[in-house]
């Protein structure tokens, strides 16, 4: 499932293909399915009506928009979201033209032709160019077309590497959790919310949080794994989901989640978040008259590259944890 979810393309604002696949996968486990005006998919699994619990995962991924079409089959890009220019060089680019998908190549000067002052620096998006002379649809590329880096999803031993695991890994966890709720009985009414436009800090999640009048919200996203950040504990891949603590998290809700994890043997890690979390949690908490929030993060290596690495066991444990949360 993770490979399928990574394989579909859905940059912020253009999530349709990804949403369609998710809708297919979650349909058997949902009582009601609907899509909001801002392209967010909501799957409701009714419980005993004790409260309304929203579980969020953003669907959108990083991408580009064609900013300029130049002569002889070259185009220029502007990024959608926080794309590191280093990961763009020498990649194949998929360009969604009105006539179909064109395929371009990000060019890079060979060492033989580089001048001394060109070495050591990475070109910014002002200088990065895409060669579309090698595409039969190259002539149909126009300004405003949406693009993504082409990334295959590969199994590396017990782990998976591919693009857009931020945040399709979490989408997979939500689908698995919905599946788990066929066996575990949920008390809360659970809304699985697959939201749009997170990578540009957009409106996908908050508008739905407001409309649904949620009591509690769990945001599922990814966090940096196996990177040592001074003063912070190192979150490790394969060691289970990370629970955030901090001002954007409701203390009691966090405590309850942490307890249910312990009681059921879900291995968790702790992620201190002294300020904003950089996820939809930040905005969801202050929606309407306020929502109790928790943030559950799946450890992910090399975030925002086309070769992000996740461990499917972390995703399964995350699914188990959020399914258990709906029984509280």
């Amino acid at each position: 499932m993770l490979k399928c979810l990574s394989g579909v393309d859905g940059p912020s604002g253009y999530e349709d293909e990804a949403l369609k696949l998710i809708e297919e996968k979650i349909k058997p486990y949902a009582d009601v399915l609907k899509t909001s005006r801002l392209n967010t998919l909501i799957a409701l699994k009714r419980g005993e009506g004790t409260k309304k619990l929203g579980i969020f995962a953003h669907v959108d991924e990083l991408g580009f928009v064609v900013a300029k079409v130049e002569e002889r089959g070259f185009i220029r890009l502007e990024p959608i979201g926080g794309v590191d220019p280093k990961v763009v060089l020498s990649q194949r680019i998929k360009i969604f033209t009105k006539q179909g998908v064109a395929s371009g190549v990000v060019g890079f000067l060979p060492p033989h032709l580089q001048k001394e002052d060109q070495r050591g620096k990475v070109p910014s998006f002002d200088d990065i160019f895409v060669d579309v002379s090698c595409s039969s649809l190259g002539e149909h590329v126009s300004v405003g077309d949406i693009c993504v880096i082409e990334g295959e999803c590969a199994e590396l031993g017990s782990k998976v590497s591919g693009k857009a695991l931020d945040n399709r890994a979490s989408c997979a966890a939500l689908i698995l959790a919905a599946q788990n709720l066929q066996a575990i009985k949920n008390r809360a009414d659970v809304y699985f919310i697959f939201s749009s436009q997170e990578e540009i800090a957009g409106p996908g999640a908050v508008s739905v949080a407001y409309e649904l009048g949620l009591d509690e919200a769990i945001v599922v996203d990814v966090t940096h794994a196996n990177e040592k950040v001074p003063q912070f504990p190192q979150i490790k891949i394969s060691e289970g989901p990370a629970l955030a603590v901090g001002p954007v998290i409701n203390r009691e809700f966090y405590k309850a989640l942490s307890d249910v994890a312990k009681r059921n043997g879900v291995k968790i890690q702790l992620e201190p978040t002294p300020g904003r979390s950089g996820t939809d949690t930040d905005e969801v908490q202050i929606t309407g008259s306020g929502i109790k929030t928790a943030l559950v993060s799946i450890p992910l290596m090399y975030m925002h590259t086309p070769v992000e690495v996740a461990d499917p066991r972390d995703i399964e444990e995350t699914a188990r944890l959020i399914a258990l949360a709906s029984t509280m």
Binding site: V83, S103, L113, T305, V307, V309
Partner: protein
């Protein structure tokens, strides 16, 4: 056309076996003799109708890539380039270790980088290959220090342009294989040499003279283009679509005048699209051939390729076909060529 098979095989300098086995199997029945020498060069022979001269056609099998230099405690692999690979084209790529173990080269997330780091070139010392192993023990079950690493790039062909890795110099190997496919004999004895270790200092070609004593040679290469927005137009080396590039000089060797002019004459005589290579940077096995033994006068004909020495380069298929035509016509000239 063997371009797809050839470029999708992994054969970093020093590890050309897969490429050599493939070529050997395809050509063995079409030549009069084939051997593999001490260094690993594959040499095929086709007897001439007059046999007064030994004409050597050479292309190198190896590509740039990497070697695993250490297995770290966390199960990731440190690596170093084999041949010239700019560290800026390495991040975010899928790789294959010894042709079979998949891996990826990641990078610290942009969120964790300092502002000035974002446009700084990555350094090999900070890059790792991840094969999904969580410990050194787990990693060493699949790989070991010294294993070779290639980019995992598929070959595609659209709009009469081909994209993939290692056109430098599998394009040259493919040209030689096309010539071998032709059943007729030429006047000269022809030696086809598929060489090792060009990218690490023109090493395979160093042992040819002693074995063959050729009278003349043609080196067939995949060469730099540069006709893209990365360079101002006056600095372009070759242009995709303008035909095979004929070299008059490169590092360490001014091409034998007689051979250079004869190549041009043949191209003009048969109206085959061609272009001079406009830059003298870079070298080929022609320089080594000229310097070994008594010296072999050699010409250089190349298929222009954009973005070489990266995981993803581009050639024009018509340039490739015109290179095959030009080399074929040169051989048909027989003893009249470069007389």
């Amino acid at each position: 056309m063997y371009l797809k098979e050839l470029t999708e095989l992994d054969g970093v300098s020093g590890d050309e076996g897969r490429v050599r086995d493939f070529i050997k199997e395809k050509i063995e029945s079409k030549v009069d003799g084939v051997k593999v020498d001490v260094l690993g060069n594959l040499i095929a022979f086709k007897k001439g109708t007059k046999s007064n001269r030994k004409f050597l056609l050479a292309a190198h099998m190896d590509e740039v890539g990497f070697m695993v230099t250490n297995v770290e405690d966390d199960g990731t692999l440190s690596f170093a380039p084999v041949g010239g690979v700019d560290p800026r084209v390495v991040v975010g790529k899928h790789v294959r270790i010894k042709g079979e173990v998949p891996g990826v080269i990641g990078y610290k997330a942009i969120h964790l980088q300092k502002r000035n780091e974002i446009l700084e070139s990555p350094k090999y010392e900070n890059l790792r290959i991840n094969i999904g192993a969580s410990s050194k023990d787990e990693a060493t079950q699949k790989v070991e220090i010294g294993d070779y690493v290639s980019f995992a790039t598929d070959f595609r062909c659209e709009n009469s342009r081909a994209t993939g890795k290692a056109f430098d110099d599998r394009a040259g190997c493919a040209v030689l294989m096309e010539i071998i496919e032709r059943s007729e004999r030429f006047e000269d004895d022809i030696y086809f040499a598929f060489l090792v270790q060009e990218e690490t200092g023109l090493r395979g070609s160093a042992v040819l003279f002693e074995q063959l004593q050729p009278n003349l040679a043609l080196v067939i290469e995949g060469t730099t283009a540069g006709d893209d927005p990365g360079l101002p137009e006056h600095q372009w080396a070759t242009h995709l679509g303008d035909g095979p590039a004929i070299t008059f000089m490169h590092r360490g060797y001014v091409v034998n005048k007689k051979i250079y002019e004869s190549i041009l004459q043949v191209a003009q005589k048969y109206d085959i699209k061609h272009q001079p290579k406009r830059r003298t940077a870079g070298g080929t096995d022609a320089a080594r051939l000229a310097k070994t033994g008594g010296g072999v006068p050699a010409g250089v004909i190349s298929v222009p390729a954009r973005y070489i020495h990266s995981p993803l380069s581009v050639i024009d298929v018509d340039d490739f076909k015109n290179t095959v035509s030009l080399v074929g016509k040169i051989l048909e000239e027989g003893e009249g060529f470069a007389r």
